[in-house]
Symmetry: C2
Subunit: 429 residues, 2 copies
């Protein structure tokens, strides 16, 4: 049986487009059809202009191939500026807003011959107030946030690739909840000009997909980091099993799933050792909010002063708290983070990657919460690259994810190992 076009990986779709077996237009049409069928239930998309997208796809079909992802459609989180589609940052304050320019990451995709299929739903200013998006596996459950739409759209096979942003756990968590893969690259990997900054020392543009290869090809386009030679990642990786100081926050299914994953990867040839985070790292889990609060209060100062009544009841107290943080406290957490970054770099010399939970549980059954970013916050603050790979099921049968964490700027190798791990788990699980 043939794979429906909307279910193709980006790499496979691009190969068929290059071979003349598929057009960008037919691929976009298949994705738009899936969205038309499913998005009343999933609500992953903020804006789609189908006719415009198809016209742009036809234009790409007439254009010489510009990259290994030529003709592939993307969903763009609506926290990222697009000239040709509205950009509302998940807030009524920006109702109908049309940016003057594309964000740098959008321009980089267009430069590579990729198609901007539409804008995916962001929670309000990429924060924690729930969006209307539903988990595609069960609409009673949250898709996670803040990149709710990108995670749900990719997991539901509406589009092979999507961009999101992570300030706490806004890429890895929703991907794990929805059963997608995602990469939060090393801090500084993908240019943020034209992305609404919420906490500029943390905000990181990330990528959602259904295969590690697609993450690597998209990262190549967006950051200039070459995709790894996947065939060379066949050896015996040294894995640090990192339960983190917050292991007790993970539910039984998540704990058991991670332990089982470690056993499966050891059976596949890996050397797995327990990995303790450097002294002081436990503070990062608790104090991430000091940095995010201080910075987001300032980043959203205009909105807070001008339209206080249009800021949600979830966000308002977070901004109020951010204004209460002193500069000295903020600087002290930044200094702790810098010290931990150096210590982690030293500690990771003997491992290829860390294995750790993507989230404390499967997606909670709730429309009032986007879930807990506890297993992402510290990694975001440390700036290291993280990949979540779907593996296992939670107590209610929703997807779980395992998280692979690499050394700073080691994104390409981490994706190579993610490919190896996904294959090993698929064979052994």
């Amino acid at each position: 049986m043939q794979t429906p076009l909307n279910e193709l990986s980006a790499a496979e779709a691009a190969r068929r487009i290059e071979a003349g077996e598929l057009t960008a237009e037919a691929l976009a049409a298949a994705c738009l059809e899936r969205i038309a069928e499913r998005d009343d239930a999933v609500r992953a998309w903020a804006f789609i202009h189908a006719r415009q997208a198809l016209a742009e796809a036809r234009e790409l079909d007439r254009t010489p191939r510009r990259s290994r992802l030529h003709g592939v459609p993307y969903g763009i989180k609506d926290i990222i500026d697009t000239e040709s589609l509205p950009t509302e940052y998940g807030s009524p304050i920006y109702s109908g807003h049309r940016p003057r320019a594309d964000a740098a990451c959008v321009a980089l995709l267009r430069r590579a011959g990729c198609l901007i299929l539409g804008k995916t739903v962001s929670t309000e200013f990429a924060n924690n107030h729930p969006s209307p998006t539903r988990n595609p596996h069960d609409p009673a459950h949250t898709p996670g946030g803040s990149s709710s739409g990108s995670a749900a759209a990719v997991a539901d096979r509406m589009v092979p690739l999507a961009l999101g942003t992570q300030t706490g756990g806004s890429v890895i968590r929703p991907a794990a909840y929805c059963g997608a893969l995602a990469l939060k690259p090393s801090f500084g990997s993908i240019n943020r000009q034209g992305t609404k900054l919420v906490a500029e020392s943390l905000d990181t543009i990330g990528i959602f997909s259904r295969t590690p290869e697609d993450l690597a090809l998209a990262l190549e386009v967006l950051s200039g980091r070459p995709a790894p030679d996947f065939a060379s990642f066949t050896g015996k990786p040294r894995i640090g099993l990192c339960r983190t100081p917050r292991w007790q926050d993970a539910d039984a299914a998540t704990q058991a799933n991670l332990e089982q994953t470690a056993r499966l990867l050891a059976q596949a040839g890996a050397t797995v050792t327990d990995f303790e985070l450097p002294a002081g790292s436990d503070q990062l889990f608790d104090r991430h909010g000091i940095i995010m609060g201080f910075e987001s209060a300032r980043a959203l100062a205009w909105e807070y002063m001008t339209f206080p009544e249009q800021i949600s009841k979830s966000l308002k107290p977070r901004l109020d708290e951010g204004w209460q943080v002193t500069r000295a406290d903020y600087d002290a957490v930044r200094e702790t983070a810098r010290r931990c970054r150096r210590a982690l770099a030293d500690g990771m010399r003997d491992v290829d990657f860390l294995l750790t939970p993507s989230a404390p549980s499967e997606a909670p059954r709730s429309h009032e919460s986007t879930g807990d970013p506890v297993f992402s916050r510290a990694w975001t603050l440390l700036g290291v690259p993280c990949v979540t790979v779907p593996h296992g099921k939670g107590a209610h049968g929703l997807p779980l994810g395992i998280q692979l964490v690499g050394p700073f700027d080691g994104d390409s190798a981490l994706l190579g190992w993610a490919h190896w791990a996904a294959a090993a788990l698929s064979a052994g699980g």
Copy 2:
């Protein structure tokens, strides 16, 4: 003889406003009058809406005092978004652009009861293509760039305070050329949401003024770093005299001026020792352009792809070069910078600040160049705070500056020492 209102420092003006001896409206009117007299020659301002500014000043006169700078007018570099005034980033691509929101730094000023007097001229995308602005001391000379208008406006007593941005030497150099003070704070001090990013790992919002106290009060409003207790900076600072690996780029007047400054400060009680930058730092002077090129090519990707013919002949080749930089080379320079940052922090344990040139010479006699940022680039890349204080004259009688460089996040103390040094030089010079 009374000081004309437009020549008052921000601190003195705010004290008089608080005492009821001066209104924000009268202060704004005096600044607008100076601008009306002088700006045909200096061309420091991109946009001024005098009636709107006066109305906002009257509103501030009716408002309870919100900060120690309540009622004080600012010029805002036109690379920073303002809702109430056009924002063109120095480029015809953005002709007539009206942002939807104020940048965070503008909102922070409004929150503190400061007045946005108008937008000051930026070079094209805060890069090196000269703007129409002239040096207020001699219109045949450049004011420097890229914060050309902010430096010229403050030096010419059109406004007591202005904001600029520095990616290479775009705050310190124009201030030195025009005879103003300026602070480039530690990286991460002033929130950049709503500022057009050119090279996000370098871009730093800075402040222009005519006194160290004004820099400190403005930094307090903008970053939350408390202004120092200036009276406590009366001791005997330990100064590292840092000629830098590019000392031969400084002209004879600049070299003699720095040596004489060191002698004067030693006479005032300082201990002055020669300071060598950490091994490898010489690379930072040369390789800053690798980071700036890589990032600015991406940050301006939309403009480059959409309006190539509207990008200047100065900027186009810089962006072309930026696209040629490999990710590996870019990452390597970032790693060198991180290593040098740690080494500099260690090396500065025994000094309070470094003394180094602000620019290689007085402002060049040219409208084709904004001068050489060589004595700022490395400090920007190192992220450390820098203050330029006017002292001495160049070969043609234009102002020279001396640059004080502090340890990372030591902005408040650095401003305390800048106050001490300015007083010592004023007494001794």
